[in-house]
């Protein structure tokens, strides 16, 4: 199930409990039986804070997804839980109008916006003429703990909003969520960051803190538990998400897709061949991926190439564990063994599943297409975008490889090269349109505006950045890593290099690199509003990615934090992404 969060360096359980209590209160306000209609984008996040059984205990008779179809129910009470998006509010309005046209008795509606109501949604309700007939509420579900060290807002499309459309409304949500963290864990003394969106968020945070009422300020915890906040705009480092991830968790996401801490697996992968329990054939099994699973916690951050030996060693250890039963002679020895047995069986089960998942992934990683692609990526990162790389991209287009993969590679070429030479750029775009259809034109325009795939202007600063930030590390031993570069078998994620320097308080050492990267550089200190200069209680660093983080970056930060004495890192993001989902969010769909 959901991560138990017990080992977290900050008390995330309290955060989760607060939201859970808020939701239960909302449910209890509607007396009697009720139907719960959920925005599909929220099923994942809500699943992480409350179980279906608890919902039922509080009078929920049925849960259904919010769709344009009319809602048929005898239930008098209907609660909608949704993101504040106008099209969704219109769907609700259609439901209400349909019910009004039907026979009485009338229904009671509660409309719960997550995390907050917006002016636009109020306007839609007014225009639909139902503003007065609904109870409008909010559920302040901001940062969802996906695991004991990962928090996500789980909001789609922030990258597109901020870096394509220039719509910064999502940043307000980021600032509110961080402010909420400060209310629980104290005012964070240091804020560092890179990027224009980070600048905006940092300013909002400082303003919100100044505007706190004396009462609210007095209620803040005395000693801050989080000592630094590092904000990073996704567009400061576009290279990292475009690369193929090589960590186990990253590869699960790239090949099978991780949604809100869960992956849907084929029944053959999950099923225990010896067990009686049968899974419905063809129906995928929702499987949690978090640190409750001790084995998974151990292998998730590993470079995939080392996974075989790791799993093998675990299997032998488990075997030893099971053999202990032969040694158990006395009653107390047997009792000890029985106590351990549950854990051993759980781990055995997990070992079987992960062996199967790894087997499935290795079908991809062993394929010629994957290996050639990886070679092309690595040569671009290490030696810059060459004509060989360009020819390889063209070949991928000619072969008609999956669109997102091809665009990802082309964008990588462009980002590393600081754009593509005019003639090459036109040729590339034309071949893309020829192969994937004319409608791709609009997507290409988006990629261009977001700075992912564009014409070259000026020279590339990649080789300078690469040296200044030590991005390429030779002779990486993936089985016994010495540097975060193990996650990409020789490339250290730029974003994580920035975070490392920011955490160490050595922004000045990388002055030149910071100037070469886009957006503002932030280095602020926040005084405690009570001004008593209390010493921070904790030394937790929160690294927050605006516009999405990849699992590879999470792994790199987690691995690094383990190496350094007394360093605790919690990772925050607007959403966990990979290169495919990043590009996909910019794809323009023409019906």
């Amino acid at each position: 199930g959901v991560s138990n969060l017990a080992n977290s360096v900050i008390n995330l359980t309290a955060l989760r409990e607060a939201t859970r209590t808020e939701l239960i209160n909302l449910l209890d306000q509607l007396q009697g039986k009720k139907v719960l209609v959920l925005d599909p984008a929220l099923t994942g996040p809500l699943g992480l804070i409350i179980e279906v059984a608890t919902l039922k205990e509080h009078g929920v008779e049925r849960i259904c997804p919010l769709t344009p179809e009319p809602l048929v129910t005898d239930c008098r009470n209907v609660m909608y839980i949704l993101r504040p998006r106008a099209p969704l509010v219109r769907m609700v309005a259609d439901h209400v109008h349909a019910h009004e046209a039907g026979p009485p008795p009338g229904k009671e509606y509660s409309l719960v916006f997550v995390p907050r109501r917006t002016f636009v949604c109020d306007q839609v309700l007014e225009a639909e003429g139902i503003w007065g007939s609904l109870k409008l509420q909010e559920l302040h579900l901001d940062l969802v703990p996906l695991d004991e060290d990962v928090l996500s807002l789980e909001v789609e499309g922030v990258f597109r909003d901020c870096f394509l459309d220039g719509d910064y409304s999502a940043l307000h949500g980021v600032a509110r969520a961080l402010m909420k963290l400060q209310n629980v864990f104290g005012v964070i003394p240091n804020i560092r960051g890179k990027g224009n969106c980070s600048r905006i968020v940092a300013n909002m945070l400082m303003r919100m803190r100044r505007e706190l009422s004396a009462e609210a300020a007095a209620a803040l915890p005395q000693a801050p538990e989080i000592d630094s906040l590092i904000l990073i705009d996704r567009d400061v480092d576009l290279v990292t998400p475009l690369l193929s991830q090589l960590t186990y968790e990253g590869l699960i996401d790239e090949t099978l897709g991780i949604k809100c801490g869960y992956v849907d697996l084929d029944p053959e992968i999950v099923a225990d061949p010896k067990a009686q329990q049968q899974h419905v054939p063809g129906k995928r099994v929702k499987t949690p991926l978090n640190s409750n699973d001790r084995l998974y916690a151990e292998i998730r951050d590993a470079n995939f190439s080392t996974l075989g030996p790791l799993l093998n060693r675990r299997a032998r250890e488990l075997d030893e564990g099971f053999k202990e039963r032969h040694a158990a002679q006395t009653v107390s020895e047997i009792r000890d063994f029985m106590r351990k047995l549950g854990g051993l069986q759980a781990e055995h089960n997990s070992l079987r599943i992960h062996t199967n998942v790894a087997e499935r992934i290795s079908q991809t990683t062993r394929s010629a297409a994957f290996l050639r692609r990886l070679e092309a990526e690595q040569s671009m990162v290490a030696a810059g975008a060459s004509s060989t790389s360009f020819e390889f991209i063209e070949e991928c287009i000619h072969r008609g490889e999956p669109l997102l993969r091809v665009l990802r590679l082309a964008c990588l070429f462009s980002v590393i090269n600081g754009g593509i030479k005019s003639a090459q750029f036109r040729q590339l775009k034309r071949e893309l349109l020829h192969t994937y259809g004319f409608e791709l034109l609009f997507t290409l325009a988006n990629l261009e505006r977001a700075g992912l795939l564009r014409k070259q202007e000026g020279s590339s600063n990649w080789s300078k950045l690469q040296k200044q930030l030590n991005l390429v590390v030779e002779d990486v031993d993936e089985a016994n890593p010495q540097d975060i570069a193990y996650v990409f078998s020789g490339y250290a994620p730029l974003s994580v290099r920035l975070a490392q320097q920011a955490i160490k308080g050595k922004w000045r050492n990388i002055d030149e690199a910071l100037r070469a990267l886009p957006g503002a550089t932030i280095d602020e200190t926040q005084a405690d509003p009570r001004g008593d200069g209390s010493v921070p209680k904790g030394s937790v660093k929160l690294v927050f990615f605006i516009g999405g983080a990849t699992f590879a970056e999470v792994s790199a930060l987690r691995w690094w934090a383990k190496q350094e004495d007394g360093l605790d890192v919690v990772i925050g993001t607007t959403k966990l992404i990979n290169g495919d989902s990043l590009i996909d969010s910019l794809v323009e769909r023409v019906e």
Binding site: G400, K429, E431, L433, H434, L441, F442, A445, E588, V590
Partner: protein, 117 residues
């Protein structure tokens, strides 16, 4: 672009082509040669595809496909000359044309043509 997008959504084939031709004129005025050519090519493609559909056996669709898909479909229905003509008309690189033909022939299991090719 917004205008062009609206046109691409249009159900009416004639309107689609008109929009593309007008967009092409617009890009000409803007001195954006690349966009001018690409929109004009697309209008031509749609016209050619409409003709292909007229002469096609039932169930074969061409309209609105990409150039690569059009070539693939022509090879699949054994219209190799037409496929080659499309490729040259729209400057499809030889390499890509081979790939498309190779894949389509393999899909047909037409090993004889594959040998000759």
């Amino acid at each position: 672009y917004e205008f062009l997008r609206g046109g691409c959504n249009s159900e009416d084939p004639q309107e689609r082509q008109d929009v593309l031709m007008r967009a092409s004129e617009f890009f000409k005025d803007m001195k954006d040669e690349w966009a001018q050519k690409i929109t004009k090519d697309q209008a031509t493609l749609l016209r050619v595809q409409a003709e292909l559909e007229k002469g096609a056996a039932r169930g074969e669709e061409f309209y609105g496909l990409s150039i690569a898909q059009t070539i693939t479909n022509l090879v699949l229905s054994n219209q190799h000359k037409k496929a080659a003509r499309i490729a040259s008309e729209f400057d499809v690189p030889d390499k890509q044309f081979w790939w498309l033909k190779l894949k389509a022939l393999a899909q047909l299991r037409d090993w004889d043509s594959l040998d000759k090719f």
